[in-house]
């Protein structure tokens, strides 16, 4: 609930920040002489993507396209299109043990380490292809993505910032995404992933996603704006060799909005397959 509330607040902030007739907010007014100066962290500190000055600066250059909308993985030709394989890359030994364990579990009628089913975040890349739409709101400085699946939030920055220093980055399941425009393509670079309870597939295929995971997405708007094409190039030398490539298409959904979705503490008490003897949790 808190997550969706935060998302709604974000969207509300964006709407107000984008309004050209919006008067200066009290927060941007010059402080009174007796008021201590705001802690800006010093000159050059990264400003928020939602700071009015940031948005105004970047609004001068028109973006090649606007992803604002609800997007849903195209499964019209293949209900398994949410997976990023096959083909799968050549796995390292560290990854092969999980692959083999998942295959063995499946053969025995069991489920191997389905962490998403245990309410861990899906994380990137799987969060993009859940069977719920992904709401995207684009402003000049960022794209805010809110998944209909657990309301997972992903922010793609367009404001020219650099990736956070590895010494201080807070690792997450969706990672830190920074994008740049290359002609009619938006190139999104994502690092900073959590390397535990994070998987590249689900349902009989177990390939871990580690802290070295690096994902580059080349995003284009196609089909007269009704489809999103994302070409994924993924590397994680701890878990597979070379580049793992996959191209996905997403359809625009104009007759549904995302809803509040949470993995509540009592959910799996009633979704009993997740607590059944079929589950191999460790």
């Amino acid at each position: 609930m808190r997550t969706l509330t935060a998302a709604v607040v974000i969207v509300g902030l964006m709407a107000s920040a984008c309004s050209p007739s919006q008067p200066a907010s009290p927060q941007t007014a010059a402080p009174a002489a007796s008021t201590p100066p705001a802690d800006t962290g010093g000159e050059g500190k990264q400003q928020s993507a939602l700071a009015p000055a940031t948005i105004a600066r970047l609004a001068k250059a028109k973006a090649p396209f606007d992803l604002t909308g609800n997007w849903f993985i195209d499964v019209s030709q293949n209900p398994e299109a949410w997976r990023f394989g096959p083909p799968y890359p050549k796995l390292t030994a560290a990854s092969q043990v999980h692959w083999d364990a998942a295959k063995k579990a499946t053969a025995e009628g069991k489920v191997y380490r389905d962490d998403i089913g245990q309410c861990w975040p899906a994380g990137l890349p799987l969060i993009m292809t859940r069977y719920w739409p992904m709401a995207m709101v684009q402003i000049p400085s960022a794209i805010y993505m809110i998944s209909g699946f657990m309301n997972s939030v992903r922010i793609v920055y367009l404001d020219g910032r650099k990736h956070t220093d590895p010494d201080i980055i807070v690792r997450t399941y969706n990672g830190e995404s920074i994008a740049r425009w290359e002609g009619d393509t938006l190139v999104v670079d994502t690092i900073g992933f959590r390397g535990d309870h994070h998987w590249m597939d689900q349902g009989g295929v177990a390939i871990p996603a580690g802290e070295q995971l690096h994902i580059v997405e080349r995003i284009r708007l196609v089909g007269e704006g009704k489809q999103l094409e994302i070409e994924y190039t993924m590397t994680d030398p701890e878990h597979w060799e070379g580049e793992w490539k996959s191209t996905k298409r997403f359809n625009r959904v104009d007759d549904e909005d995302i809803q509040e979705v949470s993995c509540l503490p009592d959910l799996n008490e009633h979704i009993r397959s997740t607590t059944s003897k079929t589950q191999i949790l460790q």
Partner: protein
């Protein structure tokens, strides 16, 4: 007389993979089997990410067994004609499920037959395609 038909109702089902809307792996379910549950609704929860039904079903010896039935999200169920008040505790229903492979009284939903004979499934229109309208 209510009947618990586990075993005699098992049939091969040529079903597509039904991972629609699931937050968890569908691998726990045996898609080649169907179990027909004839019983009484104990609870029906209309919620995200999954709707669920608990049904009290007498076994061969007459002992009540509580079955858990997992369904997709209300978004898809609405598209298939469901409403939040379509069943309530105490209703007599027949539910067909694909059971979990462990043999526990749990399964993923296939169809619901109400006391008045109406049959509901959860076959959803796919979002973002022409048939979703």
């Amino acid at each position: 007389m209510q009947k618990f038909l586990l075993g005699c109702a098992c049939v091969v089902v040529l079903a597509p993979v039904v991972s629609v809307g699931a937050h968890h792996s569908p691998a726990a379910f045996d898609r080649t089997k169907e179990v027909k549950l004839v019983g009484t609704v104990k609870e029906f929860r209309w919620q995200n990410p999954h709707t669920w039904i608990e049904v009290i079903v007498p076994d061969e010896k007459g002992k009540d067994v509580l079955w858990g039935v997992e369904l997709t999200s209300p978004t898809y169920l609405i598209r298939a004609g469901w409403k939040s008040n379509i069943i309530k505790p105490g209703d007599k229903v027949t539910v067909v499920v694909n059971p979990v492979r462990s043999g526990e009284p749990s399964g993923i939903f296939r169809s619901l037959t109400l006391a008045d004979g109406r049959v509901l499934t959860e076959r959803p229109a796919r979002l973002g395609t022409p048939d979703s309208k």
